[in-house]
Symmetry: C2
Subunit: 562 residues, 2 copies
């Protein structure tokens, strides 16, 4: 059955393998939320499916359920009232470990076949997932559909492709013959078995519950581990839906569905610390803040830990061909999901003497004003602003924005009028001007729609501050604008060495926030933002081990002949 | 120059790549210490070269030398009196970090070319290395030549092959074109740069200074890191020789020789703790005991850490076709380098009701007696015993053997008469019988020629004890003897899950201690013995990171035409 699944999706896997080798554009799952692709009734069906969860128990037939918990609240102002099984961890972790027995003995082909089928079914339910992601994360629907659906599925497939390639590097058998003298050889039959690390715990985040979790989930599953998903209590539904689909496919393929389970909790009684410290746990994937991420790294020493934590993303402005094109691009980047992407720029470094343009130098104040003007224009259309900015996921982020509005505020954060969701929690980007000496203010992650325009002595200082910030506090992205190739090279060198992916002179329909599966590495592993590199070999290679068995082969035939 | 080096050795690299994929027998460097291969004067030249180091300073032209230190003493009883540069770490670490600047920007081809040339020159000096290894580790000459020379070089080459394959998985450039509407595409030029983790510190051990260090050294060098070698103060010469050759090749290739440096210390003033905690350090490779290995894992959190620590290796005796063939094989395994290999069996599990043979059951006592008899015979020839057992590397090990001689001693440890080295520190294997309940005695690593024959209730208990020991305390190897396929399967399953490489029914010229480059994985990473897996992808993939730069390509041509 699972081999049949593998055959059914083999072409997709092969295309993914080609893509990770070329790193050219490729996507397995269509990103356009169109009825022509997903079926004419797909949107309505998805909406209805999402609505059916409201106020109800989300049934997952897994062992150890002792209660039902739920604390999600849509950032668009809807009380969802969905509850999820709360598990007795002793029962749940044991069940996951037991389920691994047959899963780990299955062939890589079997396991990858099951994973490919799970991704396929997730894709077919992308509209339902879109609504689930929208009303937990606060993303606009388009983004929720794309990032929560096909883009997340692509990232999961990418991890599968890496795991598949890596598992196939070592043959399962080898015959080893060594000449030990002029007349004699010894021969060993060697069998190489892949063994999993143990139960994998995936700790989801509240802003990208599927996109950030799928790579770890699928990499762990493919390599023979069972996965316990610990969703953020504010964004459970997208992962509960995922777990349900995974369990359904596992059962159909003849495996114990407890290969994938959920450990749901509440903000008042969190279970993640207890969960990751269980001795059965061999892998932890974490996306979230530094406090808990650092704690896991310090304490879950028995497990392979992959984290994506905080970082300071930067923009270095030295010059440009077209200031309007620059600021238009930046206004969108800053507004998209109200700055709640781990790739959104936070610090914009501009030299005190301004930037170089074909029309001469544009002063610092005029450059800053041009950014504000572009934001003003972009946010002036409420429908566009509502769709692009979405809503603020957490009350904490909303409060952070309010508290950050001190000093020289160039643009205050404001509410967005949302026609469809009057109670949506919204906030446009707050823009604050600071001096390069105010490192206590801007050299830290201020998650959410908070932007610092930093006045520096020179582009050289801009580069130094951007790279220092990344080295000390982490960082995922940097966008550099300059007309001078030497400056570009200097900035790219410095940021690359600080482990930050750089984009240069972006204008038009491509933004620094974007990270494309099969091509862009997300998190470099080379600064404090963590080591959850989507996706490279290091991200999958530690999820399994290879153990050999050697058996001598009597040299009977040769000796008889000789 | 370094490209020329690459071309010169490209065929060797390609053969190594084929070997790691097939895992069939292959070796690049001849293991036979023959004049026909290494040159008729090679042995004499090597001996003379080694002798020339005695009582002298071993000059290494590296920065920061503040004193000369030396505390080696040949286990064969010779005061060597060689001294090595002691470095001011502030100067040395800075120099290593600075040397990385041009090294990391070189192409993988350049770096791997340099590494291949280093291995080639090391190979040509294998006799000199053999004497250096013999008189630091206590290995017999044949073993010192092989394990210290060609086998270590093969392990280094294996790591190079893995690093090369891994660095080539991601292209250095890609053109990414995405359709964003019916009429428009966006195109990004993407550049992917490999960046090293930082200064790599390799902490050598006293028993296999080159074999255990080369994989980490070459994997780190190939991936762009500088390497500081911190040798065990009792086994400096083999690595000092290595560093000198590496520095010579680096200079010839136009690189800063400080890409490879030595940090030598003394037992009284160790520098390793200070060294690994330097912020410039990005990688630590450690081979040695648990106390310091665990300390590094706990404390060097800023670095990628690879360790090989203690373990309990086991033999499970359930039955055999030919008891004499079994015990003959085992006597050699136990005697080889006086049990000072990390792969030597320590615990031999035998059921109380004996083992199954074609002539019926052989009792526990008779099986144990057969092992003792085989040891007696093997050790009865002093010349053979001296060559195979070699000498005891450290006074600590010698003391441990003496103290372990309590309870039911089946064979006391004795001295070996060494014709050529009257003052050699020697010890034949001590064999002690214990009960399966004496876990406090045998469920711990007792490094050196100490063997426990454990009387168990059944083979089932033998398997449980062997796998529990590995899970809790680590373990690298297990040899299983049985006539029953079901028992073999059960034992292999249990030991594989405990991360232990198993060998079955070994007789004749193949021993459980042997671990062949390009085929056998050494250290599985799946139990407390550590994660320094020689060699798998996980061992190299974390030594570098990939960071991208994206630059938009204007869609000028297409738009003009359209």
């Amino acid at each position: 059955m699972s081999h049949e699944m593998f055959q059914r999706h083999q072409q997709t896997l092969e295309a993914a393998l080609t893509a990770i080798d070329s790193r050219e554009f490729w996507a397995a799952y269509p990103e356009v939320p169109s009825g022509k692709i997903y079926g004419e009734t797909a949107r309505d069906d998805g909406l209805a499916a999402w609505k059916s969860t409201l106020g109800n128990r989300f049934e997952i037939d897994q062992p150890g359920t002792v209660d039902w918990v739920g604390s999600e609240r849509s950032p668009y102002g809807i009380e969802t009232g969905t509850t999820y099984p709360q598990a007795d961890l002793d029962v749940l972790v044991s069940a996951a470990a037991a389920a691994m027995d047959s899963w780990k003995r299955a062939t890589p082909e079997c396991r990858v076949g099951v994973c490919l089928e799970i991704l396929h079914r997730l894709n077919r339910r992308s509209f339902e997932m879109g609504f689930a992601v929208m009303h937990t994360t606060g993303q606009g629907f388009m983004m929720a559909f794309q990032a929560g659906g096909p883009h997340a599925q692509d990232r999961g497939l990418e991890a599968l492709a890496y795991a598949w390639r890596e598992m196939n590097h070592c043959p399962s058998h080898a015959t080893w013959t060594k000449r030990v003298s002029k007349t004699d050889t010894v021969t060993l039959d060697k069998t190489f078995r892949l063994i999993p690390r143990g139960v994998a715990v995936t700790i989801g985040c509240s802003t990208f519950p599927t996109w950030n979790s799928y790579p770890g989930i699928f990499a762990s599953l493919a390599t023979g581990n069972a996965v316990i998903i610990k969703p953020h209590p504010g964004a459970v539904l997208p992962l509960a839906l995922t777990a349900t689909i995974a369990r359904e496919v596992l059962s159909e393929a003849g495996f114990d569905p407890n290969v994938v389970t959920m450990a749901c909790d509440t903000p008042d009684s969190p279970v993640a610390q207890d969960l990751v410290m269980r001795p059965e746990v061999g892998i932890v994937d974490f996306t979230g803040g530094n406090a808990f991420g650092d704690w896991i790294e310090e304490n879950a020493r028995h497990a392979q830990v992959y984290t994506e934590k905080a970082g300071i993303n930067t923009a270095i402005l030295d010059g440009c061909e077209n200031l309007k094109a620059l600021t238009g691009n930046m206004a969108f980047s800053l507004s998209l999901y109200s700055g709640q992407m781990c790739t959104t720029p936070q610090n914009i470094y501009i030299p005190a003497d301004g930037i170089d343009t074909p029309d001469g130098r544009v002063s610092f104040d005029d450059t800053a004003a041009a950014i504000i003007k572009a934001l003003d224009w972009f946010l002036s259309d409420p429908a566009r602003a509502a769709e692009v900015c979405g809503a603020i996921q957490s009350e904490d982020t909303a409060t952070r924005v309010q508290k950050a509005a001190t000093g020289k505020v160039l643009r205050p954060s404001g509410a967005i009028e949302n026609e469809r969701f009057a109670d949506a929690r919204t906030a446009t980007p707050l823009v604050v001007q600071v001096d390069s000496s105010d490192t206590g203010v801007f050299q830290r992650e201020m998650f959410g729609p908070i932007v610092y325009i930093v006045k520096t002595a020179s582009t050289e200082e801009s580069i130094a501050l951007a790279s220092d910030g990344a080295r000390q506090h982490g960082g995922l992205t940097c966008v550099v604008y300059s007309r001078d190739d030497a400056v570009i090279e200097q900035a790219v060198d410095a940021m690359t060495d600080a482990g930050v992916a750089t984009s240069c002179n972006l204008t038009g329909h491509i933004w620094v926030n974007q990270s494309a599966a099969f091509s862009d590495f997300h998190v470099s592993g080379a600064n404090p933002s963590g080591n959850a590199t989507l996706c490279d070999t290091a991200y999958v290679a530690g999820r399994f081990r290879t153990v050999a068995c050697r058996v001598p082969v009597p040299a009977a035939v040769e000796e008889t002949v000789g």
